[in-house]
């Protein structure tokens, strides 16, 4: 009888605080480490720890080392079934003697950290408590701590407690040491253990599943492997925790064990891969190592879950776990040191803490002999990773969002800038274009002045200088000069691409001259399609050409009627249509071949060619036909002018 090591109150603290926050977890961890030594001094003296027991073990199923007969053993609790009889099922009956001194304060009670897998408890020959079927216990049953109040009437000064258990192999069966004392004190120990071993894992599993669901949803929409791995890790961990709060499962016990152990392996692998992505591991070997770990681990798990549950298999299992942890930790620390950023440092710190906690657990468990790791903090270590991973994800998400916003702003800015540049460029090119157009137009007008008005005035001047020109000749010269000027001005009128209006205006200007020549005009100008490319230059060329034709009729043809026909030919299509202009007289005609120079025909041809038209002149004794075919589509395409 001695005061109990009091890890359990610290456990309560731990369970609560670890869930609350990461920082408190660290503090609580330290408290957990030192808790045992402090607690011993504060332990109330009324509580007895029942450790010495006389046990009768009965193994079922035969096999080596079977203890069949009632050969009592003296042993010290706790009695770990899996350590004493690995791979075997069986029952054991423990007899414990203790004394009772009534205090009158409180109802006495028993606290049993473990009586697994099913048990029956008799005090002084009377049944006190029982759980499960002794002949067919449930796997993982009896993992919960037990609190058994004792009616004072059942107690004597010297008492005998008989506990019978039925244990399954790999079921963490056995009997822990038993506490007996005042109800309120014992109850607090019981509560601490319940929180630490059952409720804590349950809460963590629930939180893990919730986080996993959120993460899975994000992964489903975004296919970001980080979220997928995180969800996988959380689910795996929640499953692996199930053994702490699920007493019975619908699955065969081997399969259940495989699932629990596999999910732990999957948690490790998912965490490792998550870490590799975060730290941006470029080397191949960490990935291979993790895959190899999975390939080794699965057969091992199956082996361990089967009957061949041997201690050295467990050692191998742990060895592999430690190896992969070291491998991942090495990669993390290496990258954190070589290319430090806060993500890598945080991961490395989390891993370092986890490693430290696990190592501390090892040492502590080794010192206290807690074979079933009931007091181990390791089951909470994953919380460290979960929180770290969650924080990293949130951090990345926020950074990405912020980056996106920055990028958008930047893009907007750039687009605005480009737009401005384009506007400037456009304005500049417009300016250049306008200048060029002005220059072109100026050149055209100057040429026009020289060719038309200038040459006529020069002619008039030379007639005047020669002294031979009669006033009539001079008047004719000047009239021509004025006409040339009028045509130049007319060519600049905007007629909206209406060739008919150009022809109409030509007739309007020639009206006086035609009347003077006593030429009757048979005018047949039809409505013509608008020619978008009709520039002043084209109009001017056309005027010169037609003027030449009219002059020929007036001066040489000796004709009474001039017929002018204009109509569109060659289909309705805008692009393919041509415009036909015919000037026909009934005069004496001339030899087209011989009179090229004299009638300015070469001039007419070159002007027709300049505006992309086709000129044909047909002359006979009955008259002359000047036929001009124009293609407005060519003007629009910019082939002429």
């Amino acid at each position: 009888m001695r005061p109990l090591p009091g890890a359990h109150p610290a456990g309560i603290l731990l369970a609560a605080k670890w869930i609350v926050s990461f920082a408190l977890l660290l503090a609580a961890c330290a408290a957990g480490m030192g808790g045992a030594s402090h607690a011993q001094t504060e332990q109330p003296a009324q509580v007895q720890a029942l450790e010495q027991a006389e046990a009768i073990v009965c193994l079922t199923g035969g096999g080596p080392g079977a203890v069949t007969g009632p050969a009592p053993l003296q042993l010290k609790l706790p009695h770990y079934w899996d350590r004493e009889f690995p791979g075997r099922d069986g029952t054991a009956t423990y007899r414990l003697a203790f004394q009772y001194v009534p205090t009158g304060h409180d109802t006495p009670a028993f606290y049993l950290p473990r009586a697994a897998n099913s048990f029956e408890m008799r005090l002084n020959g009377k049944l006190l408590a029982a759980s499960g079927d002794l002949s067919a216990p449930a796997i993982h049953a009896g993992q919960r701590p037990l609190y058994v109040p004792v009616p004072e009437v059942m107690l004597r000064a010297d008492n005998e407690l008989v506990v019978t258990i039925a244990a399954l192999s790999n079921g963490r069966g056995g009997l822990s040491r038993i506490e007996f004392g005042p109800g309120n004190v014992v109850r607090s120990h019981y509560d601490g253990a319940l929180w630490f071993r059952v409720i804590g894992p349950l809460v963590i599993a629930a939180v893990s599943l919730l986080l996993a669901a959120i993460s899975l949803l994000i992964w489903w929409r975004q296919r970001d492997p980080l979220f997928g791995l995180y969800a996988l890790a959380e689910i795996a961990w929640a499953v692996s925790l199930a053994e702490f709060f699920l007493a019975d499962t619908p699955l065969p016990r081997g399969a259940w064990q495989v699932i629990v152990l596999s999910s732990r392996a999957i948690f490790m692998v998912a965490t490792a891969k998550f870490a590799f992505i975060i730290i941006d591991v470029r080397a191949r070997w960490p990935g291979w190592a993790v895959n190899a770990y999975l390939w080794i681990k699965f057969p091992l798990i199956v082996l361990m879950a089967s009957v061949l549950s041997l201690p050295y298999l467990k050692v191998a299992d742990w060895g592999i776990n430690v190896a992969i942890a070291c491998c991942v930790a090495g990669a993390l620390v290496w990258s954190a040191l070589r290319r430090p950023n806060h993500e890598r440092v945080v991961l490395a710190v989390a891993l370092g803490l986890a490693t430290a906690l696990t190592a501390a657990d090892f040492v502590r468990i080794w010192l206290t002999g807690d074979f079933y790791w009931d007091t181990a903090l390791t089951k909470y270590v994953s919380l460290l990773f979960s929180l770290t991973m969650a924080w990293l994800l949130v951090d990345r998400y926020t950074r990405t969002t912020r980056m996106l916003a920055d990028l958008n702003r930047d893009l907007d800015h750039k687009v605005a800038q480009k737009e401005q540049e384009l506007h400037r460029l456009y304005a500049h090119s417009r300016e250049v274009e306008r200048e060029q157009a002005t220059l072109r137009e100026r050149g055209r007008i100057m040429r026009d002045m020289h060719d038309g008005l200038g040459s006529t005035l020069v002619g008039a001047l030379s007639v005047l200088r020669s002294g031979q020109g009669s006033p009539a000749v001079l008047q004719e010269h000047l009239q021509h000069a004025l006409d040339a000027l009028k045509f130049s001005v007319d060519a600049m009128q905007d007629t909206g691409g209406d060739l008919a209006a150009v022809l109409g205006n030509l007739r309007y200007r020639l009206r006086a001259r035609l009347e003077a020549a006593r030429l009757r005009v048979d005018w047949q100008v039809e409505r013509l399609p608008a020619a978008a490319g009709l520039t002043p230059q084209i109009v001017r060329e056309l005027q010169y050409l037609l003027l030449e034709a009219f002059s020929n009729v007036m001066q040489h043809a000796d004709s009474g009627v001039v017929q002018v026909v204009a109509r569109s030919v060659g289909g309705e299509a805008r692009g393919g249509g041509a415009i036909l202009i015919e000037i026909r007289d009934d005069g004496c005609g001339f030899d087209v071949a011989a009179a090229v120079q004299g009638h300015g025909l070469a001039n007419m041809r070159s002007r027709a060619a300049a505006i992309g038209g086709e000129l044909s002149i047909d002359s006979s004794g009955r008259g002359t036909v000047v036929c001009l075919l124009l293609y407005p589509a060519r003007w629009e395409a910019g082939e002429t002018g």
């Binding site: 007319d490 209006a501 309007y508 039809e526 409505r527």
Partner: protein, 235 residues
């Protein structure tokens, strides 16, 4: 195009007010018009202000007005004359190729125009024709009028006869569009009349109407613009 002067023999001479700032042109026009029987140049002004002053007290039969006056535009004089003397015919004296200004003058109320380089014979014919109700119309101006008074129908084609279809906007009737279309293609008034099987008089009446529509249109446009600018509170 220059049809026979059909006006009844005038009892009195046609009283002409000449507004022209170029002394040479003024002198030429005065002598050319003054020498003609039936036409009397009653005054010659060289400035917008003096012309308006003269118009305030007297009424001419015909106003011959240059556009580029030293103290303003001849268009103002025309507007002034039209307001004071609705029976007065206004003619613009213009250089060839100044169709834009001619249109503006018509919009201000002018009913004809005179080219500075016309022969003296033509000058007289024009003035008499104008008094008789005829108005000149060159192909280029016809083209521009079609564009300006474009009706709702397809451009260049006879418009449906639906006056006032667009509220206050003045549109050309189908027949008017036809007349303008033919003239813009170089047909004379007589040929136009033949094409449309109407008399030359009717053609001239159409032209006169078109002149009026241009003036009305310009007024409604001005009112519309003024309304838009908030110069008028109510229409």
């Amino acid at each position: 195009m220059r049809s026979q002067n059909q006006s009844p023999a005038p009892e009195a001479d046609i009283r002409v007010l000449l507004v022209e700032d170029d002394p040479a042109t003024s002198a030429r026009l005065q002598s050319a018009l003054g020498s003609l029987p039936g036409i009397q140049v009653v005054a010659a002004c060289a400035q917008r202000a003096s012309a308006c002053e003269w118009l305030d007290t007297q009424e001419p039969d015909v106003l011959l007005c240059d556009l580029g006056l030293p103290d303003g535009s001849g268009i103002d004089v025309i507007r002034h004359a039209r307001r004071l003397h609705p029976r007065c015919d206004c003619m613009v004296i213009t250089m060839f190729g100044d169709e834009a200004n001619v249109l503006a003058s018509i919009a201000a109320g002018a009913t004809g125009y005179l080219l500075k380089d016309e022969s003296d014979d033509n000058l007289r014919a024009f003035v008499l024709e104008l008094r008789a109700g005829g108005s000149p119309m060159s192909p280029v101006i016809a083209r521009k009028v079609i564009t300006r008074l474009r009706s709702a129908s397809a451009p260049g084609l006879p418009a449906p006869d639906a006056p006032g279809a667009q509220g206050a906007e003045v549109t050309l009737s189908a027949r008017e569009t036809e007349v303008l279309d033919l003239i813009s293609r170089g047909y004379t008034y007589a040929e136009t009349a033949g094409h449309l099987s109407i008399s030359v008089h009717t053609v001239q009446a159409h032209i006169k109407n078109i002149y009026g529509k241009l003036a009305v249109n310009s007024r409604t446009e001005a009112v519309f613009e003024a309304h838009k600018l908030g110069l008028l509170k109510t229409l």
